[in-house]
Amino acid sequence: MTPDSIAEVSELDQASDTQDISNNDLDVAISVLHKLINAVKQQVLGRDDVIELTVIALMADGHVLLEDFPGSGKTTLAKALGEAIVDSEHSTEAEGQNKPADYIRPFRRIQFTPDLLPSDVTGVPVFDSNSNDFHFRHGPLFAHVVLADEINRTSPKVQSAMLEAMGEKQVTVDNVTYKLDDLFFVIATQNPLDLVGTYPLPTPQLDRFLFKITMDHIDRESELDVLESYKERRDQVQQKITVSRDEVVSARQQIDDTVVISLAVKTALVDISRNLREDERVLQGNSTRSMVLMLPALQVAAALRGRNYVSAEDIELLLPRVLGHRVELAPGVAALDKVLADAMRAPMEQLARGTLS
């Protein structure tokens, strides 16, 4: 390559950078995204992909189901995410009617056990002898980030209360409905191996989770890093990165407004779903809702890569996480990856070809 052409390329790079920066709204949203991710990365090492997906789910107003072994950093991740979002002081007059700052916490953790009751999760009306009246004591669901640990260990009754909260962003106690925060985000976990005495979540309930993320053990270097930097993190030497709740909510709105999902991308999604449903290796395909839920996630994923349009990359990244727990395979078929790859090939090819016509 001649020096001239190198110069040309760098000029082009700059040109494209300036072009992107001109899109201000999206850029603010992107910086919020990166802040969140970096905040969690400070605390959780070697799980960049999971952090990214979790933040995508948070921004896309979805919930995440983590499948992992104990002690692999789920709680740390959820806690770091919750603590990275702080309440902004000046936001009360705008949308504060429903959420007095006193009972909304950045982060809550619920350990699910078989004897847990729905009221333990949602909150309960208690009698106040001073005012001679019942008033509602808010349960742990009233938080930005809720870690539902071992969600499959509790009874279906509690699970359904949990799922109402996730689906409707509200809890109903004694026929009174309480609104949850707009930013309500659940990270549920379940242990894939220790299944004795559990109540496995049925498919429709799984459908409420945007992603199911299966985590593997982190690699050697990262694990060593965790041990090395353990002290710093415990003593919180580093300055914490924080994002205000309003920033997150408005970033959500900006991404939703700015990032374009073309018809071709939607076509590809529908075609993939149809292919999956027709595949004889698949017992039950994914729901339409899953595709609807996926759209915001795709937008966030695109924004995370600095794009203002959704591309094939985003589908490839998210589809396995979105469909992993929604598609039921026929008995004897083990490899979802392969089934998914077969179902995706033709629609993705059509999506790629479509850009030239």
Binding site: M1, T2, S5, E8, V9, E11, L12, D13, A15, S16, Q19, V260, S262, A264, V265, R307, N308, Y309, V310, S311, A312, E313, E316, M344, R345, A346, M348, E349, L351, A352, R353, G354, T355, L356, S357
Partner: protein
């Protein structure tokens, strides 16, 4: 198990197609090497092996065996089959129980079944197990057709009969048809191979292969197949090795009379004048054995002998030094002769008196074409009676040469005893004496292509005083010696003798290898050389052949080179597809395709510079894709644009920028444009430069030449 049967069902069609193609090439190869039963054996053996290997290569026990083991076992099976075949043919009992011919057919069947079966097993195993194997398989099929094709070049235009006859009667070169079959077979195999490995590349590669085969056809059509220099394996005298007069081979050897190709056409004769032989056969004399060289008769080396022969080809007219006599008993016949295989001397209808070269109407078909002028005999027996012998201008030496025989008294004794019974009025008549000798040979001789006298010092003596079993050489030598022992000047004429019935009323006559002949001749003073040909009444071989009337007519018309030949071809073609027109259409289509390919290629490269900004994202990206696919980098099926850009970033790093710009407009907001015309142009040029810098030189050359590279960009 259900999945298993589904798999085998899916493989059934390709397996059958491949089996049919390979079996077809076995059939083609076996045609020239064996009889019908052998061909059937090879066909069945190949089919069997194909299905066997394709169905059980992945099952126990074959999947446990190593490739080498399977190949070794196949070899052993092949050897076993061959020994079984030879056992079948060589065992007396089988031949007694069944007819000998059935035994022979069974043996051939077993032999070819074993050869084809084991070879196919080896080929298929290699193809299934190794990557080279499939290429070997394709090579085998190609070779099979090429071998047959080269057989065509030797003038064996009749094989395979179905194709040969069909094509020749329509004026098409059968080699073209065979070549089309060969190309088709190779193409189909290659296509099968590609389908099984990667079905997505099929159309592109199939186009390229097809073009290659098509260009081969065009080459052959324009320049013809290279013709071999020498063909000396057919016919009795089809030898052109040297100009010297010495005989190269022992004429009494059986191989000289190998009947395996007895129907092979040797020459075609067109009669320009009416003539019908009185004795039932047309004789064409090429040369003669007349001088005794101490062991047997040979070409003469004396200038004053055999002056009636034409001993070389010339470009000018050549007349014999001596003319036959008794012109009133002869009729002048002009014949045009087209030699399909080379000969040392020109031959002509007895007795040739002049030779004149003729322009060859078809270089591919005829080795040589010439006219001969003959004074053909029309006299009868009575005319020959009471004639004197020898030519008046012969010197004593010449007389002696024509009377020399081996130093063996038995010739004289036998000859004397044969003429002892002649009626008194003929006792001194030369022709009657000769006839008595001929009659003896007719009655007692046994015609056979196998003989036991080849390596005797005097094969003719061994024949005559032994079992009297031999072929024309033995009869003519024996007769000549006996004629000479009786004082009759005689020699052995060499050439062809064709039954008059073969002419079948037409004006042309096909000479086949089986017609090669030798006969005794005696010289009468007022007549010339007269053929006295013994015709043994007992024969061990069937010398009748299919006269191949259609071929005879076709070659004759071709040789005659007049309007009727064209008319004949026209009449044959009107009812059928016009092949030359079809080929011309194909050439035109090919040319058009090439032009369209290059046109599209350069249009797509040119258009981005001349379109508006709205379309730049699409056209610029496409033109860059074209250039990448030309050097072999193209997006795979199902691959996303970003993945592709990442993959080619080693060659064209700027492709990632191009891709993101392209997608931003294609998938994002189509109305907002990020780049200016100038920037798009810069980006295009940068990528082109990157490709020029980083791609291999060979690929760049191919990129320039390939007219259809843009088909791959998508």
């Amino acid at each position: 198990m259900a999945a298993d049967s589904a798999t085998s069902n899916r493989h059934f069609l390709p397996t059958s197609l491949r089996a049919a193609i390979i079996a077809g090439s076995y059939w083609v190869v076996s045609l020239s090497l064996t009889v019908l039963s052998g061909s059937i054996g090879s066909f069945i053996g190949c089919l069997f092996a194909c299905y066997f290997i394709d169905s059980s290569i992945n099952r126990s026990p074959l999947n446990k065996l190593r490739t080498f083991t399977i190949v070794t076992i196949s070899f052993c099976v092949c050897l076993l089959g061959l020994s079984l075949a030879s056992l079948t043919t060589n065992t007396q009992i089988l031949a007694d129980v069944m007819a000998p011919i059935v035994t022979f057919n069974t043996g051939e069947f077993i032999k070819w079944f074993a050869i084809a079966g084991s070879l196919t097993v080896i080929l298929r195993t290699l193809a299934q197990r190794t990557s080279v194997g499939s290429v070997l398989e394709i090579l085998f099929v190609a070779t099979a057709f090429v071998v047959t094709l080269s057989a065509h070049r030797n003038g064996m235009i009749h094989r395979p009969f179905i194709i040969g006859d069909y094509a020749l009667t329509r004026g098409i070169d059968p080699s073209n048809i065979l070549m089309i079959f060969g190309c088709g077979a190779v193409l189909s195999l290659a296509a099968l191979l590609m389908i099984e490995n990667n079905h997505r590349r099929l159309p592109y590669h199939f186009t390229i292969l097809g073009l290659l085969c098509f260009s081969l056809l065009i080459y052959v059509r324009m320049f013809g197949l290279p013709t071999p220099q020498l063909t000396d394996d057919l016919g009795l005298t089809g030898q052109e090795q040297a100009g010297n007069n010495s005989r190269r081979e022992n004429p009494f050897q059986d191989s000289a009379n190998d009947a395996s190709d007895k129907e092979a056409p040797v020459a075609v004769v067109v009669f320009r004048d009416d003539y019908e032989p009185t004795n039932g056969s047309y004789y064409f004399r090429e040369s003669a054995y007349s001088q005794f060289n101490g062991t047997m008769l040979d070409y003469t080396n004396r200038d004053d002998m055999d002056q009636d022969l034409i001993e070389r080809f010339t470009s000018a007219r050549l007349e014999t030094e001596q003319l036959p006599k008794a012109v009133d008993q002869r009729t002048a016949v002009r014949t045009t002769i087209g030699m399909l295989i080379s000969h040392r001397n020109p031959f002509g209808l007895e007795s040739p008196i002049a030779y004149e070269n003729r322009p060859n109407p078809n270089n591919l078909r005829f080795k040589r074409t010439y006219d001969t002028y003959s004074l053909a005999p029309e006299y009868d027996f009575n005319y020959l009676l009471g004639r004197e012998l020898g030519r008046e201008d012969w010197s004593q030496e010449v007389w002696d040469e024509y009377l020399t025989i081996p130093d063996d008294e038995r010739y004289t004794q036998l000859a004397e005893s044969l003429i002892a019974n002649l009626k008194p009025q003929y006792a001194d008549d030369p022709f009657a004496k000769a006839w008595a000798v001929k009659a003896y040979l007719d009655e007692n001789g046994i015609y056979s292509l196998k003989n036991e006298h080849a390596y005797e010092t005097d094969p003719a003596g061994s024949f005559l005083f032994g079992d009297l079993t031999g072929y024309c050489m033995h009869f003519s030598f024996a007769a000549t010696y006996m004629f000479r022992s009786l004082g009759i000047p005689a020699r052995v004429g060499i050439g062809y003798s064709v039954p008059a019935s073969n002419r079948a009323g037409g004006s042309s006559l096909l000479i086949q290898a089986v017609h090669g002949h030798a006969w005794p001749e005696i010289y009468f003073r007022d007549i010339g050389w007269v053929i006295v040909d013994p015709a043994p009444q007992q024969t061990l071989v069937d010398m009748t052949t299919d006269p191949q009337n259609s071929l005879q007519q076709l070659l004759g018309d071709m040789l005659r080179d007049d309007a009727s030949f064209e008319d004949f071809l026209q009449s044959q073609q009107t009812s059928f597809i016009n092949v030359p027109l079809l080929l011309n259409i194909l050439y035109f289509a090919l040319l058009a395709a090439l032009m369209a390919g290059f046109g599209t290629k350069y249009y797509r490269r040119w258009i981005p510079a001349h379109s508006n900004l709205q379309n730049q994202y699409r056209l610029s990206y496409r033109s860059v894709l074209d250039q990448l696919s030309a050097v072999g980098l193209y997006r795979k099926f199902g691959e996303s644009r970003e993945q592709f850009a990442a993959r080619v970033s080693a060659i064209a790093p700027s492709m990632e920028i191009m891709t993101s710009q392209h997608l931003a407009q294609a998938l994002g907001n189509a109305d907002e444009t990020h780049y200016s015309q100038q920037q798009w142009r810069q980006l295009r040029n940068t990528i082109v430069q990157e490709i020029q810098t980083n791609a291999e030189t060979g690929k760049k050359i191919i990129a320039t030449l390939n007219p259809f590279s843009w088909l791959l960009s998508k």
